[in-house]
Symmetry: C2
Subunit: 236 residues, 2 copies
């Protein structure tokens, strides 16, 4: 795992020595372990560089919560994309982060820090705020107690201000985010419920700041989120 974690931020490829250093192993053991990982399909070797292996992709696609959610969500994300032609996200919460499960975009999509399987702080993203606002008990307090991470100069780092934002989300059922995750792009999100009151996922639209029209986008996002919520309830 120490070796595989070297790839965690953004994939890519590494040489043996880099992996050994990154994992804190001696070159000898790194050599033997990478050989083993290649044999298992978890790593692939191309000349003298290593990258993550296809086996990981297959195993990762089998993770239950993620893959079943994704499967039933796709049609609703699809509808939302067709109605708005903007980048659609589906995310879930893990600890204090949002993990993106699906992302649908058209040809000229804006560059975003979100990536399927990627993590971002709950507090900097529309999906994160929607998840946080409808999370169990003391999570909001926990998150507000920790120092708030920032991704841009617009990211909210004041716990007091963030709390009122969260309360607005709870009242309206819609979360906004304006350039807090990436410069020049705003975001509108809605929570997805499976049972009572706590969100199991959230859907968002990421829109270039120039054409951000919340009044037109909000109903579409809500509709998608409600449709998915209903589908998840019926699926059970």
């Amino acid at each position: 795992m120490a070796l595989l974690d070297c790839f965690s931020p953004g994939g890519g490829s590494f040489r043996l020595t880099e992996l050994a250093r990154g994992a804190g192993l001696s070159k000898t053991t790194a050599f033997r372990l990478t050989g083993e990982l290649v044999r298992l399909g978890l790593l692939e070797r191309d000349g003298d560089t290593y990258r993550l292996g296809g086996r990981l992709f297959e195993l990762g696609s089998l993770v239950p919560r993620r893959s079943s959610l994704r499967e039933t969500a796709v049609p609703y994300l699809q509808d939302l994309f067709e109605a708005t032609r903007e980048t659609v996200h589906l995310g879930i919460r893990d600890d204090h982060d949002v993990v993106y499960v699906e992302r649908i975009h058209g040809h000229g999509a804006v560059q975003l820090p979100s990536r399927i399987g990627g993590r971002l702080p709950l507090t900097c993203t529309g999906v994160g705020k929607a998840l946080l606002a409808f999370s169990e008990g003391e999570l909001v307090d926990e998150v507000l107690a920790a120092p708030l991470r920032r991704l841009t100069s617009y990211s909210i780092d004041d716990p007091v201000r963030l709390r009122t934002v969260i309360e607005q989300v709870q009242a309206s059922g819609i979360a906004y985010e304006e350039q807090e995750a990436a410069d020049g792009v705003s975001c509108i999100a809605a929570p997805v419920f499976a049972g009572r009151g706590i969100a199991v996922a959230a859907i968002s639209l990421a829109v270039p700041r120039g054409r951000f029209r919340p009044a037109q986008l909000a109903p579409a996002v809500r509709t998608a989120a409600l449709g998915l919520s209903r589908a998840l309830r019926e699926g059970l």
Copy 2:
């Protein structure tokens, strides 16, 4: 890996004893190893049952070939879905199997054996035939030499017949498949090229047999495949 492989066919959840048996380990070591895997996030424990962990999803999403292909392909798959409203597949080859990388479908989608990250024999699927027809040198011979697996009663198990089918695909640039992977559903596919002549992926449409109109679907599939091919070339 022996433990993780227990989940390989279709995910789900298992108890400790099942995992020990499935992996060929003593209950004691299975206990210790599952504990370790849970600690690493590769497994999740819920009461007395285990399932694959979120970490695997994240690592799997970082696998380079898969994720970059997927990222640039999504808009084209999107277009294809909107034009046809049928289930869209994107697959690559691994050994003698096709591995599905993306799948887009609408609300009333047909039940299919294909799943993202799932494997099916090259010879039973549209995507597989397209990949096989434009693969390197001796792969066709290799595949035809091995006994041909069957998924339905329509699956081709005669090497001679399959060879002529492959040659038709090579000539036309379009692969057909009729109920060879699942009863009641047919398929039309086109190869995606990155450089010269060998396919790096393939795009397919899966259509209920009742409304399978190849003449109307073929141009759409080819257009999507050509568009993606161009995007991959320019991306490099």
